[in-house]
Structures are given as structure tokens and as C-alpha cells.
């Protein structure tokens, strides 16, 4: 469990440790189940803001860019990114902004103010959903094969190259998967899987179980 003096997404300082469903023992379990060709670990915690708005309104895109430095990705199931933030397409009028934890509060208030100035027709909105999803990273040459055990999405690099994201079911639970070029500064791409916070341990358990098949001789 992370200790004391954390920032809440709203920016308030609290005296208590925040709970992480993928705290130490689960991270150990995940890393120990890795194989020569597949590694799994908890992703770093990030601020997650849900953005809604009308992409046809240039003022909306401009406001998003002014506050985040990123334009909403125009193509379905893709993401835009810079060294700090990522903006993922979730739907025709819905995106998820990922930001370092300490920037969450500032971005939330900045976007709230900027959106308030937009036309009501754009119906722009930003809401903090940092707590609603927790992410896992899977990487290595057989990472896709691991996920194919329980995911009907086409994750082949031809269909799901770096910079793609998609929503679907993995192990029977709803997930958002993003193909990222780097993991925590390490120089290898990874598949980042966002699951609902209440379900992420079940997903971790499923991954540990699935990895057993890849450790057996002959596979």
C-alpha cells in the first residue's frame, strides 16, 4: 500500500495511504508468473479524466488542446500522446485523458473552466474517473497470444499496431486495451489493459492462471 501524503485526484492532501488492488503481493504474483516470452505487471497509477464533447465543434478541440497539449484523436480506436499525457478514443464523443497523478487536479479544473465557456450545444464535460479503472501491462513476444486466450479482439500487430486502443471483453470482463510504444520509460512496447477497479484482481488472477499454460514444456 502506498504510504501517507498522497494527492487525491482533486489535489487535496490526505494523511492516509491509498488502497491499490494491485499492491505488493499481487505485483509479486504477476511478475513471478512471467515467462521468457511474456511479462505482466501493474501499470503505474495515473490520473484518468473522462472527456465528452462534440468533435465537430472546433472550439471543443481547441479547448482540449489548449489545456492538455493534445488534440482528440480523430480516428476511432486510436490515441494521441506526448511525453506527459495520452488521450484515448473511447467513443464518437468520448475520450479518456491519462496524465501523471499530480497533474490530474490541475487538468480537471482547467478543462472544467474551459468547457464552461463553450457553446451548450457542444455539451462538453470533464469528470474525474481516476478511481474507476486500474491498469495492467503485458509485454513480450507472446503477449498477444496470452490475451487471445480470452479476448475476441484482433490484437495482431497488423490490426492493432502501436497507437491503437480498443474496448472489449477479456476473460469475460470489460476492458480497454491500448498498445503503447513504451512502458515506464523502458524501451519496449506494451499492451496496457484497463479494467474496472473492482474487477482488476480477477483479471490478474486470470492472467496468472493463463500464464501457466505458457510455462509448461512444449508450449
Amino acid at each position: 500500500m502506498a504510504k501517507a501524503k498522497e494527492m487525491t485526484p482533486e489535489g487535496n492532501t490526505v494523511e492516509h495511504g491509498g488502497f491499490d488492488p494491485l499492491a505488493a503481493d499481487w505485483r509479486d504474483r504477476l511478475s513471478q508468473s512471467g515467462t521468457a516470452t511474456i511479462q505482466v505487471d501493474a501499470a503505474p497509477c495515473q490520473a484518468q479524466l473522462t472527456l465528452r464533447g462534440d468533435p465537430a465543434d472546433p472550439a471543443f478541440a481547441k479547448a482540449v488542446e489548449a489545456q492538455t497539449g493534445l488534440l482528440p484523436p480523430p480516428v476511432a480506436n486510436t490515441l494521441t500522446a506526448d511525453e506527459h499525457c495520452r488521450l484515448l478514443w473511447l467513443g464518437p464523443d468520448e475520450w479518456m485523458l491519462l496524465a501523471p497523478p499530480h497533474q490530474g487536479a490541475l487538468l480537471l479544473s482547467g478543462l472544467t473552466v474551459a468547457f464552461a465557456a463553450l457553446s451548450p450545444a457542444t455539451n462538453a464535460m470533464v469528470i474525474d474517473t481516476s478511481e474507476t479503472r486500474r491498469a495492467l501491462d503485458v509485454w513480450g513476444p507472446d503477449a498477444v497470444q496470452l490475451l487471445e486466450r480470452g479476448c475476441a479482439l484482433d490484437l495482431h500487430p497488423r490490426a492493432f499496431p502501436i497507437g491503437r486502443c480498443a474496448q472489449g471483453l477479456l476473460a469475460g470482463l470489460p476492458v480497454l486495451i491500448a498498445h503503447l510504444p513504451r512502458r515506464n520509460g523502458a524501451n519496449h512496447p506494451c499492451l496496457r489493459i484497463f479494467a474496472r477497479t473492482s474487477m482488476v484482481r480477477h483479471l490478474a488472477w486470470w492472467l496468472v492462471d493463463a500464464l501457466a499454460e505458457f510455462r509448461r514444456p512444449g508450449k
Binding site: 478511481e131 477497479t197 480477477h202
Partner: protein
């Protein structure tokens, strides 16, 4: 002598690797590369089982998936495999197999005499005879019949094996790796497309394996090997063997297939999964599933030693095992001559060819004549003899109309009768995808009718019998499928030159009559059955009878006679059965309809379908941020969890040695007398905002919204269009156009979807944004007379007084230093604060509250106590007091409904049926026996009487022992219940007793509501 029928050389078996196996308790040997069937044939074993109904001796009919007879029981507990097709079981060392449907063994079966009773057991026999008396059926006939029939045994113990799944997307999936499938896959793969080629057999090659034919001057096996080699070097190509395409789903885009991983290696569990279920989703599916040779329906066509002509050839050429010494071929076409010629060249003596055609011709006919084989033209086999194995056949001349036979009859001694009634394309998967088949007079079989969006079909599955043509069309289909997926230009390399077989220049002979012809005589002696479906013992006479009794639709005939049922799903019987019925109606084969074909193509073990969704992985388990804390509390006495939807919630927290009743009583008392703490994080939470949010919520909720001031909370009801209550919860107004909604735990996802559906499909003009924030907020419900005293020191910035923070309001502020939204709502009737904090701080808040509250008596409680407390107050629980047929009015909540504004369900509620005065409404029940808890769902009656059905007044929805009230309380839905207040009714119990109850108001605690402000 070991393997007396094994050829000295030839076949794709490895003679350096002998394998021992046991069949029917006797030891045999075979070779690696054998199937169980080919090894049995090499050992001269043909009697492999007994039939389902008449217990007749049966042998191996085919060499593949279509096998109706050779079903065997494999392995030992817990790895028993029932009804495996011996023709598809890879021989492994130590394999133990037993025949089915016989006792004590296949040669001396005690029920063998049943065959003599066949005339007494026609189609429909069961329905007519055994259903006359329900009592006799249940206690006498059914147990007897189940023992007599039965098939194989399933394991009793849990499956020790592991099964896995895999989803894969491809540009082209080819089902069947025979010549056509291999060619199609090669053409597609050469373009760089992602290709999968799957086959149920042990290796690609299909009908070419071990054959004498040449392609481009090389043996067929070499062409197959080169194709495999080329595919193995292409990076985006997947070749799966021992993989059966079970079904085609999702408009023909997804092939679901079972890959058997270890059964061919070991019979006692290998490394890794035993089988894998593939979900192959493809832009194009090419079916190259081949064709099954059709048996001919003639009297006594079921003896061991009677085999499909192509199967006999396969056993000789591919497995080097001769299925007999002296054979007769009974055919309707020239293609089958090739089998006779090949078998003769392997040392079998062809006694005769019985050709139904009066004037057969063609290169193979000439070749057979040149070899000195006697051909009986225009003849048919009319009877067979031999107890456990074929010994002779009787042939007669067919009359010109083919409906009768004529003397003289001739006996031919033989131990093998090869039959060929033509070929039936395998179109199962095509039909799964919605494709149709129709009679093709040229092919003499039912071939797929092409259509938009349907899979491509190549090879003999499409009725293309000539090898050169099949290869050419398959290459084109593969290249075109790849081009459609964006690879290549659609051009394919030219097909190899091949030695051709005879065209399918056959005739139709659907049934050799057992009726006398003009001047002839009845050849059908009593008990001479002409089998259509060998697996179900359904005969041509059964179909006649079905027709006589008016069952002229093929689906009805199937269900009456069982033709086409069973583990083989009628692969060898479907076409014959359908055409025999059509002819009975007076039509030809073109009017015949085939019964529906459904997945799976061959049976799949349940383990494969389940995959890893077993045990704890069966369904997603959702946990709140406090789950570890609940578990730790468990260590100090045992928190017991219960599933609520996908959530696992603490039901109660027993101290060491405490029963559930005592724990719940203690938790209830604490919540009423001091304070209770409940993890309510599982509540569904929705953030709703936008300029039109009030209008939107007014339409969704049956209760008023617009009048709710900022800072206040209101109870809300959600109904469906029919006026039935589906969810309840609270609405808190955060800002003018911003609401925080709660739903029940179980209906959270449903309710959000319901709202989104209306928003997106019916009211897209409303500017509203809905966001699930269920996991954004951990919720702790602090409830009880001391709640304020416990919370106050933790929320110094918040005035908790009744005046400053009244009931049904909410305040924002810090609780224990955590930013929180506190809602003064109550599900217990006590003073209550529902404290919402960011999910991750749930545990911190729990600890802070208990640290302050435990000295004052604060006690964590689970869902069971929550249920008791709310029932004491008469608060309903959606799903407990409701079942989709209960309106707010039925629950006494009519006063909360909007009267003027429209909302979903308003018009539904106005239906006359929902205005009836005798509808079931919510009431309380007071049991005469203060300790008698009423089982939920118990019926309520006025009084017991002999009337049947006994008029029911309603049912019990909730009943608990209430420690505070000091007796059992119950809620119930009772017809006209409000008028029955004070009446005594009766609740029949399971043990036959009657509980007397008095109808009371559904509020048992604090009816004045004095406690909610503390």
C-alpha cells in the same frame, strides 16, 4: 499371428513403432499412425459393438467422422471417454477400449435377442406403448429401457484435465486440409494474407493420403508434403491438425473448432491442456469439408464386414490393413470400382461387383472386366448372412422401375461387402451459416447453393468430384478470398496435372425393396431390416410407417423414427432418410428436404467448451476497496461472504464460535442501539449532467426531479414502459444541471444501459452526459443513534446538527481528512450518514470510523443485517419484494408517483389490469409462532381445502427473526392485502405443516419515524 490382416508394406503407419492396446478385454497390437479402427481391422476384428435398439452385431462402416457404429468407451475413471469414434481415435500404447451397448461382452450380449422382437417395436413404439401409464413408465419401463440402451458411460469424478481457449483473427480460414483445402490455403497464403488451415485428421492430405494417384507425375503424398512444407515457411499461416470445426457462427465469420492436444500422446493426462477451443474469426471462410460416401439401404445391410467402399480402400492404402479376404462391391456408380481394383491389387479377392446400373461403362469398368472381375449388372444385394461377421450375400435382378427385385437369387460367399450409393457433400458448416443445399442431379447429392455473405465451398463439398477441377477451383477460391481481404491480385498458379478418376456417373438407388416384384417373391424374411440410420436402428420400414401415420415433414419423421439423431447426427443416414420419405410421398430426391444441421459437427467434451471458466474463474468476482479488510476481519472469527450480482459482499461478521443467527442479532442490536457500519460501495453510482439533465431524469424517473433543490436528496423509482418497478435509488442534486444518482447493486449496469438506450436512440436531442462512477466512490453507511457522535470529531468542518444537515440532504467536506460527499439518507430507519470518498480511501475511512466508533459500540455489519433492518422498516428490496410484475402502487409507493408529468411507465400503469383492486400488494405478516421464519416464496392461502389448484392469495417475499421486535417479521405480496389487514391467513410449509399468519402493516419498527434524526 499378430495383425494377420496387415499388409507387409505400404500405408502411412510406422512399422518400427508397434503399440499394444486392449479391446473388449483382449490384447492386440497395432502401429503408430493407426486409428483404433485400422488396428482392429489389421487384427481381423470387425465386431466392435452392438446396436442401440436391437442389440444387433455391428462393425466398422467408415474411416472417418461419419462413423455410426464403431463407438467405443475409452480410458479409466476419471478420464472415461464415452462413445468415441474408433475411426478417429489415434492408437496409443496402452489404450483401453470397450464396445458399448453390450453385456457381458460384444460376442455374448444378453440382449442380443431383442433383434427378433423388431417387428414388435416399430417407430413410435415407445410413445404408444410406454406412455399409457405414467406410473409404469417411471418405475418399470424407463429404468429398463435406460439400462438396455444407454451408450457409453460418463465419468463420475471431476475432470482432472485442463482446457484452454484461443481467439484468432485471420484473413482466410480454410476448413478441411484435403486436396482442395490444401490448394485453397496455399493460394491464399502465398499472397501474405493471414491464413488458418484446419483439419480433423492427424495430418493434412485428406483423401490423397496413401493413394495411388499422381499429381504432376509425383505420388500424391509428395504433393501433400510439399504443400505442408511451403505453408510451414509462411509466417502468417497456422495449420492445425486434430482440430474439428464444430460450428460456424456470427453470420459465417467465426469457425469454432476443437483442437485435441494430448489424447494422441497419453491416456492418463499429459502436460498442458488436453484440448483447445479455437474461435477463428475470418474475413472469408472457405469450406473444403469433403464428402461422405452414402450407404445403400437394402435388407440386412448392417452386418460386421459391410463397409463403405472408400473406407475399405482407405484402410488398405493408408493404413496397410485389409478389411477382408473375399469381397463383393455393391455400387451405383463407377467411382467405387477404383476401390475394388485397388483392393484386388493389395491381395483381396473381388468375388463380384454388383452394379445396380443395367449398363455400366467407363475406364474403371473396363479395367475391372480386364482384371477378370465378374460384374452383375442391374443387380442388387437383397440379403446378407453371417452371425457375427458377414459370410455371404444374396443378389437378385432389379426390375426396370427399381422398386422391386426379381428372381433368380444368387448367393455369393464373401467376408467383405463394400457399398457405395454415391457421395453426400459435407455442408454442415455451410448450413450453420444459414446456407441452403439443394438436390444436384449431376452430383447425385445435396450441394450448397451459393449466396451473398456465405462461405466459399470447394472440392467435393461443393460437388466437384474430379480432382483436377477441384484443385483448380480451390486455388482460384483461395486467391480470390485473399484479394477480398486486401492481399494479392486474385490470380492463382495453375493446378497440377492429375490422374483422374471416373466421373460420378452413377444412378439413384435409394432402397432395395424387400417387397416381391411381379413374379418374384418376398425376399424379406421376418426380421430382415433395411437400416437407414445404423446408430439409431431406424429402418426404411420405420420411415414408411411415419409416412403412413401422417408425418410427411422430414423434421417430424426424424423425431418419430430417430433417423439422424445420435452422436453421428445422421451423417450417413440423413440423405437416404429424407429421400425415402420423399419417395413415400410420391416425389423424387429433388423434393426431399434435409433436416436442420446444428453445431457441433462431432461431439465436443464439455471441458473444452468451459475452458478455464471453472471453479473460481467461472465468473468475474468484483471486490470493493475494503475486501482485504473484510477478509482480515474474517480471520478474527470468520466474515462470511455472499455473491450479490458479481460482487462478493460480507454477509455477516461472526465472532469466534458464533452462529449466523447470533452474529446477525448482535449486528442488528448494535445498529439500533449504538451504531453499525456497512460497506455500501457496491451501490451503482451514475454521474448525470448537461443542460437537459432535469428533463431527461424527469422522463426516466417515476418520481419528481425538477423540484429537488441543490444540496438535497430524493428517493427515486425507475419503471419500465409496462409500469413495473425495475430499480430504486437516490438522486442528489449537486448543481443546477448536475446529479449524483444511485442504483441498486445488482441493477447498476442494467440501469445505466437503460438510460443510455433512451438517450442515444430515443432522445438524442437531449444534451446529457452519463458516467458510471460506481468505482469512483467507496461508500460507508454509518447508521445508528450514535452515528453523529462518531462522525462529528472526524468531520470538524461539517455541522452535523439536524438543523444544518437535515434528513435527505448532502454535504461536501473532509471526513478523516479525506474529501467526501456525505448523504443523510437511511436504509435502516436510524440516523444514518452514507459517506462517499474516493475509492482508494475507503479502507482509510473505515479504519478512522472504527477507531473513533468502536469504543462507542460501532459494529461492522453485513448484508444480512442490512436486510433485517430494512425489512423491520418495511423498506422494499428490488428483486426481493419485486419480480418484474410489481408496480410502485402495489408496494404502497403510489403517493410518490408524479401525477401530471409523463415518465416511462406512466401509460403502462394506467392499464386496467394494474388498476384492479385485487392486485397483490405489499403487507406485513405476523406469525402466530413468534419463532417461525417463513421460507421466502412460500404461498399464502385463505385456508387449506381440497380445491385443486388451491387458490393462492400471494407469497412471502421476506422473513427474518427480528431481535429488536423480538419475533419473526415478514413481508408479503397478498391479493387485496390492504383490505385484509387483521385477517388470519395460512402459509403451507414444506413439511406439510401450516403456519398461521395475521396480515399487518408492513412496518415493524419505529412506525412514527422518530429515530431517523437520532
Amino acid at each position: 499371428m499378430e495383425q494377420p490382416f496387415r499388409l507387409k508394406a505400404g500405408g502411412r503407419i510406422d512399422r518400427t513403432r508397434p503399440l499394444r492396446f486392449v479391446f473388449d478385454g483382449k490384447g492386440y497390437s497395432g502401429y503408430a499412425g493407426d486409428t483404433l479402427a485400422s488396428a482392429l481391422i489389421a487384427n481381423g476384428v470387425h465386431l466392435v459393438g452392438r446396436s442401440f435398439k436391437y442389440h444387433r452385431p455391428r462393425g466398422i462402416l467408415s474411416a472417418g467422422a461419419e462413423e455410426p457404429n464403431a463407438l467405443v468407451q475409452l480410458g479409466l475413471e476419471p478420464r472415461l471417454v464415452p462413445n468415441a469414434r474408433a475411426t478417429q481415435v489415434d492408437l496409443i500404447h496402452g489404450l483401453e477400449a470397450d464396445p458399448v451397448n453390450c453385456w457381458p461382452n460384444v460376442r455374448r450380449d444378453v440382449l442380443a435377442g431383442l433383434g427378433l422382437a423388431a417387428p414388435l417395436m416399430p417407430a413410435g413404439f415407445y410413445y404408444k406403448t410406454f406412455l399409457a401409464s405414467r406410473h409404469l413408465w417411471r418405475h418399470v419401463f424407463e429404468p429398463l429401457i435406460r439400462r438396455a440402451a444407454g451408450w457409453g458411460r460418463v465419468p463420475e469424478d471431476p475432470d482432472p484435465d485442463v482446457y484452454t481457449h484461443r481467439h484468432l483473427h485471420r484473413d482466410v480460414v480454410v476448413v478441411g486440409a484435403g486436396p482442395a483445402g490444401l490448394a485453397a490455403a496455399l493460394a491464399a497464403a502465398r499472397t501474405g494474407a493471414r491464413v488458418a488451415l484446419i483439419d480433423e485428421g492427424t495430418e493434412p492430405g485428406g483423401s490423397l493420403l496413401g493413394q495411388t494417384r499422381t499429381l504432376d507425375g509425383h505420388p500424391a503424398d509428395q504433393w501433400v508434403a510439399e504443400g505442408r512444407e511451403e505453408l510451414s515457411h509462411l509466417p502468417e499461416v497456422l495449420v492445425l491438425t486434430r482440430t474439428t470445426a464444430a460450428g460456424l457462427y456470427d453470420d459465417g465469420t467465426t469457425v469454432v473448432a476443437e483442437e485435441r492436444l494430448t489424447d494422441h500422446l497419453t491416456s492418463h493426462g499429459g502436460h498442458g491442456p488436453r484440448a483447445r477451443l479455437w474461435w477463428l474469426t475470418s474475413k472469408t471462410v472457405i469450406l473444403a469439408t469433403g464428402a461422405h460416401e452414402r450407404p445403400i439401404v437394402f435388407p440386412e445391410n448392417d452386418r460386421p464386414g459391410i463397409m463403405l467402399a472408400s473406407a475399405a480402400r482407405t484402410y488398405a492404402l493408408r493404413y496397410g490393413a485389409l478389411p477382408g479376404k473375399r469381397m463383393v462391391l455393391f455400387t451405383t456408380n463407377s467411382a467405387a470400382y477404383e476401390s475394388a481394383i485397388d483392393l484386388q491389387s493389395r491381395g483381396l479377392r473381388v468375388e463380384a461387383i454388383v452394379d445396380a446400373r443395367p449398363d455400366p461403362s467407363g475406364p474403371h469398368v473396363d479395367m475391372a472386366e480386364a482384371l477378370g472381375i465378374h460384374i452383375h449388372k442391374g443387380c442388387a444385394v437383397t440379403a446378407t448372412d453371417g452371425r457375427h461377421h458377414l459370410e455371404s450375400v444374396e443378389i437378385m435382378l432389379l426390375s426396370p422401375d427399381l422398386r422391386t427385385v426379381q428372381a433368380p437369387r444368387k448367393l455369393i460367399e464373401c467376408d467383405l461387402l463394400c457399398v457405395s450409393g454415391g457421395w453426400s457433400p459435407v455442408a454442415h458448416l455451410y448450413r450453420h451459416a444459414g446456407g441452403q443445399v439443394e438436390w444436384n442431379a449431376e452430383v447425385r447429392g445435396f450441394t450448397p447453393v451459393p449466396g451473398p455473405g456465405l462461405p466459399r465451398v470447394v472440392g467435393s463439398a461443393a460437388g466437384t468430384h474430379a480432382l483436377s477441377q477441384a484443385l483448380e477451383r480451390a486455388l482460384t477460391a483461395g486467391a480470390e478470398a485473399a484479394r477480398e481481404a486486401g492481399f494479392g491480385d486474385g490470380s492463382a498458379s495453375s493446378a497440377p496435372r492429375v490422374t483422374e478418376t471416373d466421373a460420378l456417373d452413377g444412378m439413384d438407388l435409394w432402397r432395395v425393396s424387400d417387397q416381391p416384384g411381379d413374379g418374384g417373391r418376398a425376399i424379406g424374411r421376418p426380421g430382415h431390416l433395411s437400416f437407414v440410420d445404423l446408430q439409431n436402428d431406424a429402418t426404411a420400414a420405420d420411415i414408411d410407417q411415419a409416412h403412413r401415420e401422417g408425418l410427411t415433414n422430414v423434421e417430424h419423421m426424424k423425431r418419430y423414427t430417430l433417423t439422424g439423431f445420435g452422436t453421428d447426427q445422421g451423417k450417413t443416414s440423413q440423405v437416404n432418410g429424407a429421400v425415402i420419405l420423399a419417395r413415400a410421398v410420391g416425389e423424387g430426391p429433388e423434393a426431399a428436404r434435409l433436416t436442420a444441421q446444428r453445431p457441433p459437427y462431432t461431439p465436443i467434451t464439455f471441458g473444452t467448451l468451459a475452458g478455464r471458466r471453472v471453479g473460481g474463474l467461472l465468473d468475474t468476482v468484483r471486490e470493493t476497496a475494503l475486501q482485504d479488510i473484510h477478509r482480515d476481519l474474517g480471520k478474527n472469527g470468520g466474515a462470511v461472504f455472499e455473491p450479490v450480482g458479481q460482487w462478493l459482499r460480507p454477509r455477516f461478521y461472526p465472532k469466534a464460535g458464533e452462529t449466523m443467527d447470533r452474529a446477525v442479532a448482535r449486528e442488528c442490536r448494535a445498529a439500533r442501539q449504538e451504531a453499525g457500519l456497512l460497506d455500501a460501495s457496491t451501490l451503482g453510482k451514475i454521474d448525470a449532467q448537461g443542460p437537459d439533465v432535469v428533463e431527461f431524469l424527469e422522463r426516466i424517473y417515476a418520481t419528481p426531479v425538477a423540484s429537488l433543490p441543490i444540496g438535497k436528496v430524493r428517493y427515486g423509482l425507475v419503471c419500465k414502459d409496462d409500469g413495473m418497478l425495475v430499480d430504486d435509488g437516490t438522486l442528489a442534486r449537486l448543481e443546477e444541471t448536475h446529479f449524483h444518482l444511485t442504483t441498486t447493486t445488482g441493477n447498476a449496469a442494467w440501469t445505466l444501459n437503460w438510460m443510455e438506450e433512451w438517450l442515444q436512440t430515443e432522445w438524442p436531442d437531449l444534451r446529457v452526459r452519463l458516467t458510471s462512477v460506481t468505482e469512483q466512490w467507496a461508500v460507508l453507511a454509518l447508521s445508528g443513534p450514535k452515528a453523529r457522535e462518531i462522525l462529528a470529531p472526524l468531520a470538524p468542518g461539517m455541522d452535523l446538527s439536524v438543523e444544518a444537515f437535515p434528513f435527505m440532504t448532502w454535504r461536501a467536506g473532509a471526513v478523516a481528512g479525506i474529501p467526501a460527499r456525505v448523504f443523510r439518507v437511511s436504509f435502516t430507519g436510524e440516523l444514518s450518514f452514507e459517506i462517499n470518498v474516493p475509492w482508494r480511501y475507503g479502507p482509510a475511512l473505515w479504519k478512522a470510523l472504527l477507531a473513533k466508533g468502536a469504543p462507542l459500540g460501532l459494529t461492522p455489519h453485513g448484508t444480512e443485517t442490512m436486510h433485517v433492518l430494512r425489512a423491520e422498516k418495511g423498506f422494499i428490496l428490488v428483486g426481493q419484494e419485486t419480480d418484474g410484475s410489481v408496480t410502485p402502487r402495489d408496494l404502497g409507493l403510489g403517493g410518490m408517483l408524479k401525477t401530471k408529468r409523463d415518465f416511462i411507465g406512466k401509460r403502462g400503469m394506467a392499464r386496467s389490469d394494474l388498476q384492479r383492486p385485487d392486485r397483490k400488494v405489499l403487507v406485513g405478516l405476523r406469525t402466530d409462532d413468534p419463532a417461525q421464519v417463513l421460507p421466502e416464496g412460500s404461498p399464502i392461502v385463505e385456508a387449506m381445502s381440497s380445491a385443486r389448484p388451491l387458490p393462492m392469495l400471494g407469497h412471502v417475499t421476506s422473513s427474518y427473526l427480528s431481535p429488536m421486535v423480538g419475533r419473526v417479521i415478514a413481508l408479503a405480496l397478498v391479493k387485496g392485502g390492504r383490505e385484509r389487514l387483521g385477517q388470519t391467513l395460512q402459509v403451507p410449509l414444506e413439511d406439510g405443516d401450516l403456519a398461521k399468519v395475521t396480515v399487518v402493516e408492513p412496518v415493524f419498527w419505529d412506525p412514527e419515524g422518530k429515530r431517523r434524526d437520532g
